[in-house]
Amino acid sequence: MIEQNLSLLLVVIPLLAAPVAAILPGLRPPWLLALAVTWLCFVIAGWQLFTVMDGSIISYELGGWAPPWGIEYRIDAMNALVALIVAGIAAITMPYALLTVEKEIPRHQVPLFYSAFLLCIVGLLGITQTGDIFNLFVFLEISSLSTYVLIAMGEQRRALTSAYQYLIMGSIGATFVLIGIGLVYAETGTLNMQDLHLRLQPILDHRTIHTGFAFISVGIALKLALFPLHLWLPNAYKYAPSAISVFLSATSTKVAVYVMLRLLFSVFSSDILMIEPTEDILLLLGIFGVILASVTAIYQRDIKRLLAYSSIAQVSYMVLGIGMASNMGVTATLIHVFNHALMKAALFMAAGAVVYRAGSSRFEKIDGMGRQMPWTFAAMFIAGLSVIGIPGTAGFISKWYFVLAALEQHSWLIALVVLSGSLLSVVYIWRIVEVMYLRPATDTGLSVKEAPYALLVPMWSLVLANIYFGINTELTLNIADISVKLLDITD
């Protein structure tokens, strides 16, 4: 019985907890509430994934109104996987947040911080649960608005301008999505994704549908930080509080990738890729994204910015997978969504730990600190290997599938791009090693101690997850397989 309600509970529980967190006094009570809620969501998301693992679908009718009239929450393996990533990363970020938030956020803002954090989780989980395209827009805005607030809470004043820049870009993107939804609604008269899919098939070559599709794609591409619409991302990740960098880097762009997959394949169907030059555009932007973002990452002089550019490159891989429009390509994308969340969260946690001790993420301030903080550095190193795609780490599995997908289509260019992206990541990960380990420490650097356990434990659990999912790929592969079958992609 309760299985039917899981999808709604995932959204309602954090939504109810958010205002409560805002009025709780002190530093610990709001944190405890957020901790309890995120772990509860994690358990529910795991349960939900377990329920749909056999390829079944959960459908929940909000308010008892049957779809397509009412709003429907529709969960298959892909939704459940992305929901699990969001809830899981939120749950693991919470223990990490306690100390970093006490250090970075003014005392009176801490309850509001956790409240905004919970709202952000509501938005991201809502996007993954809903089967209604307008509802998706609303959740997209809930998550975005709370994200702007969270980024603006960063210590330096540039956090404010970064948040403002993101607000402008993000709102334009969301409005584009809204225009697209309006045009599609004008043509079909429905908002339910299943229903839309059926009604869109005979009219896929209409001009209005093409325009709507273009607006939606560009809007999502902005949220996804697809090259060349990525400019908001590096500053947003750099100036945000450490816990938020961790959470956003692992979840927000991944959820946007999910939205793109869902709309492209479940709503419009892969046939629209054949009519429009969309496929080529996606591949071209993906290729440029991988190469240019990786090269830019090499020249960064700040560890958080370097990781942010690496994120853009990794998201471009996912776009490449979508652009290939084959079962194998989308499988690779889904596996990478999961694996990249693990590796980037671990890397940003390690970077956050360095910032916690050194007070800065700039290279000249953190010279040689890897020797003072061996556990943090080791975590960063292993997660870095995962980004490169060394066998035995989760990153290898996703890179492997990207190459397989490219070879399946005899596209040597894409295979070459995937491999050279990996080589470029060797260079920028090595730069971190060089700065943190090989350079002599500055005087202030010598007095730095290892990060506290509250930061090390979440960081290392993610590192171990990286290794575990690099060796045991059964779970990720299974889920990706079932999801792709349900997407019904025609090559």
């Binding site: 805005e141 540039r158 404010l160 403002y164 402008i168 709102s171 334009i172 409005t175 309006g182």
Partner: protein, 119 residues
């Protein structure tokens, strides 16, 4: 040709407002003006939705005797939600501008960038 143009005048207004708003967001360096441009941009989308809901010779969607054609109320309901989203975005944007003014002493983009150049 001209008939089509005139009978769809509301859509032309939508396009005009959309472009004006979008241009303002991109072109203006003043942070408040950017927010205003964003607002105009969003308003044009509201008009688009309201236009979509209109049915020829339809009346207000209230069931009453003697009327059989009604305008489609759903886009109007949707746009109520979108207006709420737009208001929140504007409020948050303006709040950020206030904080930026406190931190930098200016709301001109180029002056802010100049200050950020000096680390």
């Amino acid at each position: 040709m001209i008939d089509v143009f005139i009978s769809h005048y509301n859509y032309w207004i939508v396009i005009l407002l959309m472009m004006a708003g979008f241009y303002t967001v991109i072109n203006h360096g003043n942070l408040i003006k950017k927010i205003a441009g964003l607002n105009i941009f969003q308003t044009s989308v509201f008009l688009l939705y309201i236009s979509i809901g209109y049915v020829d010779n339809g009346t207000t969607p209230i069931v009453a005797e003697g009327f059989t054609r009604y305008a489609n109320p759903l886009p109007h309901v949707l746009i109520l939600t979108a207006i709420v989203v737009g208001v929140s975005t504007t409020a948050l944007g303006l709040a950020l501008v206030v904080r930026i003014k406190e931190a930098y002493g200016t709301i001109e983009e180029d002056e802010i960038q100049e200050q950020d150049m000096i680390p």
